[in-house]
Symmetry: none
Subunit: 226 residues, 2 copies
DNA sequence: GCAAATTAATGATTTATTCAAG
DNA sequence: CTTGAATAAATCATTAATTTGC
């Protein structure tokens, strides 16, 4: 607990970077400030700053952000799902919002990258039940499968959506009993957490607001092929 | 104020849904949690929950999310533009980050889908400088194309070590001394240093979460936690 | 109290996507 | 339609925690 700098590789030649507490604290601090994908310049500067605490290279900083971002995202996803489940299944009343709003559950995502652009932050999020069915008003109770097509997004409102709604089986994400609490905190990294590799996602759909549902839903026919 | 339930169409036969305050509050709450494009199941459940406050159908929920998402996006876009303008025209220096970070301008993107996919929330955030170079470790210093190889990690760090990484000119993002105080740098921003659209500076923001903020930036002193 | 044996974290790589150019 | 840049997702591998037997 004392010699902090005994850091990592100072001794072990250097198999892998082993950050010191100070380094971690600072990196987390930056992350919290909103930094997500530092540019080369930023990495460089950060690295130099952190070097006073022990050996470190730019790539370590780069990887740290990559990993941290990805893992925070996973954690957040779990929490969000848990929250939603609780909401849908147990809360008769809603969090009223006036006091709440910034729900604790949703802290992470602020993705506002401070200085980066985040390529795509899509995280399909495997919804438990056979969700992702079709959301159109009409279908709201039924399901269909129609895959739409990818990439035709528009700036304003994306218009498309590609998803594959398959009817999956109900994952047990949603607890049967309302009493489930979100203790979450997964325990095993090993197992596959996201079993669904590619669930596509879609985007916002088009729906034409003037129309009574249907057309757009079902009638997605025309979309260009990219 | 009194009869909340006089909700919508109770009177007008049913021309169109007229949400009650409670319904709106709840919908917004969900939206804030990150919900963007609820699945059919979710819509169904939400609808049932909200029904206690007045007439409502699944399609209403569906449309509400569609509209709300679109409108929020528009609003955000305007704000981003406004920010950029401010940034480009007035701030010579970089927001140091220490105080800044959670920029207000960039609030929207939180997109962490609860169960939705967020297509891409790209808001490229016009980075001023010509950042966005390449951040990969290899490149971090090197330029080239040496692609490292798959799994030959023993090799030491083939190419990756960043060597040339250091010759950049120091951007003044980070104060030179770890002990620096957070008075930000205000130094000289010459280059493109900005990658962070950050906040307007407002005043207080620093210490947030228990983290030291960039000590390293400002230099509050290293301390270890735990 | 150790140190081998397990398990949990997390650093480092690889692979797949996505989108923009050409 | 092809290719390259950028990065998210998945995976691999090593280190730190912890557990367990002595």
């Amino acid at each position: 607990m004392e010699g902090e700098n005994l850091c990592s590789n100072s001794t072990s030649s250097g198999s892998r970077w082993n950050p010191t507490k100070e380094q971690i604290n600072m990196l987390e601090s930056l992350y919290m400030q909103g930094l997500r994908t530092p540019s080369a310049e930023q990495i460089q500067q950060i690295t130099e700053k952190l070097r006073v605490y022990g050996h470190i290279e730019g790539k370590n900083v780069f990887y740290w952000f990559q990993n941290h971002k990805a893992r925070q995202r996973q954690k957040q996803k779990q929490e969000n799902i848990a929250y939603l489940n609780r909401f849908l299944h147990t809360t008769p009343v809603f969090p009223t919002y006036q006091n709440v709003v910034c729900s604790p559950y949703y802290v992470q995502p602020p993705q506002s990258d401070l200085g980066f652009y985040s390529q795509y932050s899509k995280v399909p999020v495997p919804l438990p039940g056979g969700f992702n069915t079709r959301i159109i008003p009409e279908n709201i109770g039924k399901n269909k499968d129609k895959v739409i097509h990818p990439r035709s997004r528009n700036e304003e409102f994306d218009v498309i959506s590609n998803k594959k709604w398959s009817n999956q089986e109900t994952l047990d994400l949603f607890p049967v009993h309302p009493t489930g609490i979100l203790q979450a905190k997964t325990g095993s990294p090993n197992s596959a957490e996201n079993s669904t590799p590619s669930s596509p996602s879609s985007s916002e759909n088009n729906c034409i607001f003037g129309h009574p549902f249907f057309d757009f839903l079902c009638g997605n026919g025309p979309y260009e092929s990219h």
